[in-house]
């Protein structure tokens, strides 16, 4: 599936929820249920410094596709990370570079991507794209 198709799926899933509480409960579930990162990568080298919650990201190439794993110490942040990983992981680096994040707005989580939110998510997306740029350079 392409990033666009996955994002459309996510938007579809979220459209079933009537209110913010259901959306957040779903995100919290996502955050709880996913093993996001291997313990060996949950270290300061992989830390993206958000002001409040910590976010770790690790990237590795497999068969020309970039796979991300990530984690956070805050559960809501972790839920959003799970959504981002689903949308961006296991894709070609160039597709990740080209992808936009408008779907976050569409699923009613826009506030989490405000640069002033200080939860590290804006930095996380930037980091995903930086990894993609780095690996794309290697492919070229």
């Amino acid at each position: 599936m392409t990033i666009k198709e996955i994002q459309a799926d996510i938007v579809d899933e979220f459209s079933m929820f009537d209110d913010w509480m259901q959306r957040y409960e779903y995100m919290i579930e996502l955050g709880k249920s996913l093993p996001l990162i291997e313990e060996q990568y949950r270290i300061d080298d992989h830390l993206i410094k958000g002001c409040q919650s910590k976010v770790w990201v690790h990237a590795a190439m497999e068969d020309d596709k970039l796979k991300f794993t990530a984690d956070s110490d805050a559960i809501i942040t972790k839920g959003i990370i799970a959504i981002l990983i689903r949308a961006f992981s296991d894709q070609h680096p160039q597709d990740i570079i080209d992808a936009d994040t408008a779907f976050i707005d569409e699923i009613g989580l826009k506030e989490h991507l405000s640069p002033t939110r200080a939860n590290g998510l804006v930095s996380m997306i930037k980091q995903l794209k930086l990894y993609a740029i780095a690996y794309q350079t290697q492919l070229n």
Partner: protein
Amino acid sequence: MQTAMLDVQKIREDFPILKREVNGKPLVYFDNAATSQTPKQVMDVIVDYYSRYNANIHRGVHTLSQEATDAYEQARVKVQEHFNAAKPYEIIFTSGTTHSINMVAHGFGSLLKKGDEVIVSALEHHSNIVPWQMLCEQTGATLKVIPMNDRGELRMDAYEELLSANTKLVFCNHISNALGTINPIETIIKKAHAVGAAVLVDGAQACPHVKPDMQALDVDFYVASAHKMCGPTGMGMLYGKEEWLEKLPPYQGGGEMIETVTFEKTTYAGLPHKFEAGTPNVCGGIAFGAAIDYMNAIGFGTIAHYEHELLEYGTKKLLEIEGLKIYGTAKNKTSVISFNIEGIHPYDIGTIVDKLGIAVRTGHHCAQPIMDYYQIPGTVRASFAFYNTKQEIDALVAAVKKAKMMLT
């Protein structure tokens, strides 16, 4: 101090913002330690200034400039009287506490030398740690820290051991922003003076709750921000004893702070202008005066009494939530409750309660050393003002319970 009954419903009428909704819920504003809300009496003064007499001050001979100058200088006298400073020119208007602290730290740059010591408390806001670190790096002086105990109180025994003939400056907040601890500044000042050290007290968190008396405290420097006491942002003050302000070099060069200028030499203006280079925040100063008038009309005794009730009620109600722990349990504290729920990140709680219309602060509150002491990433901090109510505390408790349910 007078402690009349406080009519909270009448007071809330003064604050238009308290009527708004957030995420479809009535706003509950519990982030007062970060910034307080502004009563319409202060807003009216701001509108009146820009409607009638907006002008540059101290220089113009025209009527508007004269009126603005008079109002600005009257505000200085209001601040002087409020803090009981000996002279109006011991009050320097600044952009806020951080600016004020940096002015003193900069001034001490020329007074400190290698081997000198500066003492700060473990309860400090980052804005109170960083300028002193920079100052020590620059001068070769050493920075020492008064440690705290588990309740978030400064250890006065350790403080006495840190003091010596090498101590040149002691820096401490009057009230901790992260925990609400009221520090024994009278004792801190006395003991510092006994070894010949100057004391700078950060009153940013204290001034919304108490009325500090500069002369009774015998403090050398005291700083505060208007926006935490119902005034505008970008406005604050530095109180300094005349002898100290004379001793410190000016912080910035510019207009207003000079007496004569030739290309060979400039002589500086007298106090307070020596420290007020450039066009000041005229409206901010006047509004600061209005905010002080507003709070004094209610009365600080009345405010303290009412806020203490809120603190006791909030503490009792929040502690009924299983797994909730309050950080900062000093005997003497203001209406700040910093807490966590076991196993839940404070950011998650803050996010959910915001959805329910409640404004609290989450994070390390710019006081990472305190968070490191407790080995936590941060806390949720609810800080109450005299316009808050017990019903709002009930809404907070219900929201925290809901957040807990969702997050565990």
